[in-house]
């Protein structure tokens, strides 16, 4: 089946800089998207989500942008900190699975240099 993919496997940034993690999805029927952060040895941690009727959603230091025209999702992290170092996954759901199953991409590793 279709799956979510990511452009960059590893992203290295300086502490204090802004980070942008990108994600391309191929299923045009997807209507709910979630970003997760996974630190080594831990389960994925919810960061932020967005539904397809929105283009942008902001949280604390994070912003998710959704471009349905080109099927692209991005996660922006402001003032990146060493604690942000982790693997980031975007995930999608679509109606024909009852929106129950999350489909994950392979992840982007964010490395924050002090």
């Amino acid at each position: 089946g279709e799956s979510v993919g990511l452009h960059l496997p590893t992203l290295s940034v300086q502490e204090g800089d802004n980070s942008i993690i990108n994600c391309a999805y191929s299923n045009s029927a997807s209507d709910y998207f979630i970003w997760y952060k996974q630190e080594s040895g831990k389960g994925p941690q919810f960061i932020i989500d967005i539904r397809s009727n929105m283009d942008k959603r902001q949280g604390q230091r994070v912003t998710v942008l959704l471009n349905k025209t080109v099927k692209h999702l991005s996660l922006q992290i402001a003032a990146t900190q060493p604690g942000d170092s982790a693997v980031y996954f975007c995930a999608e759901t679509y109606p024909y699975t009852g929106r129950r199953a999350l489909t994950f991409g392979s992840g982007t590793r964010l490395q924050v240099q002090p």
Partner: protein, 114 residues
């Protein structure tokens, strides 16, 4: 507020054996989903339980089965273990059966099959 808990944290089995993994959902959640995460990859959906029934299933063989109890906790059973079953098994909980509800993950159970 207790988060999602899983047991055991680590497990070593040999080929052909059977294994049972356990999950307690986040307080207030009644839906449990199970995912398999191979090393270096994103989680893959196994199945979801709601009201003690399997509501959705991913592309996994019948060797993978589950159960949900009246208190919403869940078990994942894998029979006739293969080397390829070695992975991190993640449990995620959410609320309700409407779909597109945020899934919160536990720390996972690391299974090694020798």
């Amino acid at each position: 507020d207790a988060g999602v808990t899983q047991s055991p944290t680590h497990l070593i089995k040999t080929r052909g054996q059977q294994v049972t993994l356990r999950c307690s959902p986040k307080s207030g959640h009644d839906t449990v989903s199970w995912y398999q995460q191979a090393l270096g990859q994103g989680p893959q959906f196994i199945f979801q339980y709601y009201e003690e029934e399997e509501r959705q299933r991913g592309n996994f063989p019948d060797r993978f089965s589950g159960h949900q109890f009246p208190n919403y906790s869940s078990e994942l059973n894998v029979n006739a273990l293969l080397l390829g079953d070695s992975a991190l098994y993640l449990c995620a909980s959410s609320r309700g059966d409407r779909g597109a509800e945020t899934q919160y993950f536990g720390p996972g159970t690391r299974l090694l099959v020798l």
